[in-house]
């Protein structure tokens, strides 16, 4: 009842606010005023329904959180439960893999191209996930490493004719190197300060690329970057695009494999501990600088690597592809998907990159819907689409092992 009253008030307030814009039309030529009160009523009705729905959802969420606190057990969502079940997990993986492999056969070239870009963002998201999700370092200049990778291939190809396959590991290496170089002075900072400085670093790289015209061709960018040669297998434009897609697919699988292993290792544990309490972490003998630097440079490695792929895919790059907006989108992928969760980040990347792509029909409202989606997800699922669940240590196996020794 209380909620109903509040919703009525909200809708009245909205009607009042929108009255001058929606309800009154002044015709300055024949000096007449037309009233469209019906439109105001529509606004009121919509505001009422939305506000009621909003309140209802918020209440439900709070009740859920309270229940979780009381039971002191981590709530396991249906999705996580399904994933933990091997009977579901493996068929699901096989189905997804089959779909991914058959994708170029099933869909048009345009779709394949879009999917390849989405996969690039999946890898970028997973890379940033190491830094933000696992180690808890807020990096707003991640795109700088992506630019380093892309430009390293473009420039090396332009000046020395270095091939894609050589540039791929070199780009990754350069990314890692930049990560370390930036990391040394910056990682003494914490939280907000770190975010601001990384933001600055991202801008510095972009501005250097933009203004060092004799070396990087400045804002006009580098064109005619060689596409990768797939050992003479890919002949023709179509085959090239399909091969690019498969290459990205392989990189995605490789990234998932590495990130997953890192996450459940000694280093992953140290990252998690560092995220939770830095002082306790140091007091337990973990080298803060080394651990953070490792996270930073590993994240940068992936960015550098897909940077090379990006340059080869588009065959043209300029500094405008590496603005702060890119960093923000990659960060949104990680936060929206669920910090630390690999599946979450993949879903986040697909949603955030494919949704705007397929919503080109409503291109005027695209950014509006994008923003609204972000707000809704953050309000109702602050932990992201998929909550990160760490792999548990198998206690019963430990007991068995110890039992064999002692009892």
């Amino acid at each position: 009842m209380e909620g109903l009253k509040k919703s009525v008030l909200a809708s009245l307030w909205f009607m009042f606010l929108t009255l001058p814009i929606m309800g009154v039309f002044v015709n300055t030529i024949d000096k007449s005023v037309t009233w469209h009160l019906d439109r105001v009523l529509y606004v009121g009705a919509a505001a009422f329904v939305l506000s009621y729905l909003w309140r209802f959802m918020l209440e439900r969420k709070e009740r859920g959180m309270k229940a979780e606190e009381q039971s002191a057990v981590e709530k396991v969502t249906l999705l996580n439960k399904l994933l933990a079940n091997p009977k579901f997990f493996w068929p699901a993986v096989i189905a997804v893999a089959g779909f991914a492999i058959a994708f170029p056969k099933l869909f048009s070239m345009y779709q394949v191209n879009v999917m390849t870009s989405a996969l690039i963002y999946v890898v970028l998201g997973l890379g940033l996930n190491i830094v933000v999700g696992l180690a808890g370092l807020l990096d707003l200049g991640f795109v700088a490493f992506y630019a380093v990778g892309a430009y390293s291939y473009a420039l090396m190809n332009m000046y020395w004719g270095i091939s894609f396959w050589v540039a791929l590991p070199l780009g990754a290496l350069l990314g890692a190197l930049c990560g370390i170089l930036l990391g040394f002075p910056v990682l003494r900072l914490r939280g907000d300060y770190l975010a601001i400085v990384t933001l600055g670093f991202g801008e510095i790289i972009r501005l250097v690329l933009e203004n060092w015209a004799e070396f990087t061709h400045g804002p006009s960018g580098i064109s005619n970057i060689a596409r990768p040669e797939f050992f003479g297998l890919a002949k023709g434009f179509m085959a090239q695009i399909n091969f690019m897609y498969y290459l990205m697919l392989v990189l995605v699988v490789f990234t998932i494999f590495v990130v997953n292993r890192l996450k459940n290792s000694r280093i992953g544990r140290a990252w998690q501990a560092l995220r939770e309490d830095e002082i306790a972490c140091q007091a337990m003998g973990i080298d803060k600088m080394k651990t953070k630097l490792m996270a930073f440079s590993l994240g940068a490695t992936w960015a550098g690597m897909v940077g090379v792929v990006f340059a080869a895919k588009t065959t043209f790059i300029n500094p405008a592809s590496f603005t702060f907006l890119e960093s923000a989108i990659i960060l949104s992928i990680v936060v929206l998907g669920g910090m630390g969760s690999i599946l979450g980040v993949i879903l986040g990347a697909l949603v955030l990159i494919l949704l705007p792509e397929y919503m080109r029909d409503f291109s005027e409202y695209r950014m509006l819907i994008f923003g609204a989606t972000m707000v809704l997800v953050m309000v109702f699922r602050p932990q992201g689409l998929v909550r990160d669940v760490r792999k548990k240590i198998d206690i019963s196996a430990v007991k068995k092992a110890l039992g064999g020794v002692h009892d």
Binding site: V258, I267, C281, I286, I393, I395, L402
Partner: protein, 267 residues
Amino acid sequence: MINERRTVLQVKGVSKDFGGLRALDDVDLDVKEGEIVALIGPNGAGKTTFFNCITGIYTPTEGDVNIDPYGGGFKRINGMKPNIVTELGMARTFQNIRLFPSMSVIENVMIGCHCRTKATFLGAVFRDPGTRKEEQETILKSYALLQELGLDQYADELARNLPYGAQRRLEIARALATDPFILLLDEPAAGMNPQETAELEELIVSIKDKHKISVLLIEHDMKMVMSLSDRLFVLEYGREIAHGTPQEISENPAVIKAYLGEELVDA
């Protein structure tokens, strides 16, 4: 008997200034092998600052902190990073519990093993036999420590869901996982009832004997301090006002004055 033992931790003339405030003033302290030493003093006397100074969280303004874990001569550790100090064998707990709240209990202890294990990035990715063996040993060692401190039934739970007393014990388990030669406990009995305190006392003695380590503790519970420790050091306003056996300290007029005020001494 005590005199024959080797000194493992020796602190000489340590001072610490915060701006114009001298939080510690020329404090001396030493801990011998296998000894339980207590550091007491009224609130704000600088006990935790002292801990922070010798574990590398603060760098002392003056003085020396020397350690000699294995009889190979003293090593000065002033100004070393906390993680290096821990690697050298000084493990501590915190006054306000600092566990890793959303990691499981056993993982908390495994973090303590971090500085004694070596798996690198490549090891994590390839998961070679050496890395797997090390991981398995880490798990077994951590579980054994949990058993020792009576926490094994909680192994799988998140650290933040543990009862208070168990969280205190978990901090000790985590510190022990770093294979220390000396355990520094910052008010381990704070907020415990008399029965829990008595249990803790037994626990500390048994840990000391089993792991052959020394213990330096800060504590307010006088009953516990008097029965547990071999020697005591008393701080007041950053200065050391007394040290000696529990018997000597309980009769020391300066200590009584510091704790109970002037008039009672006269009375």
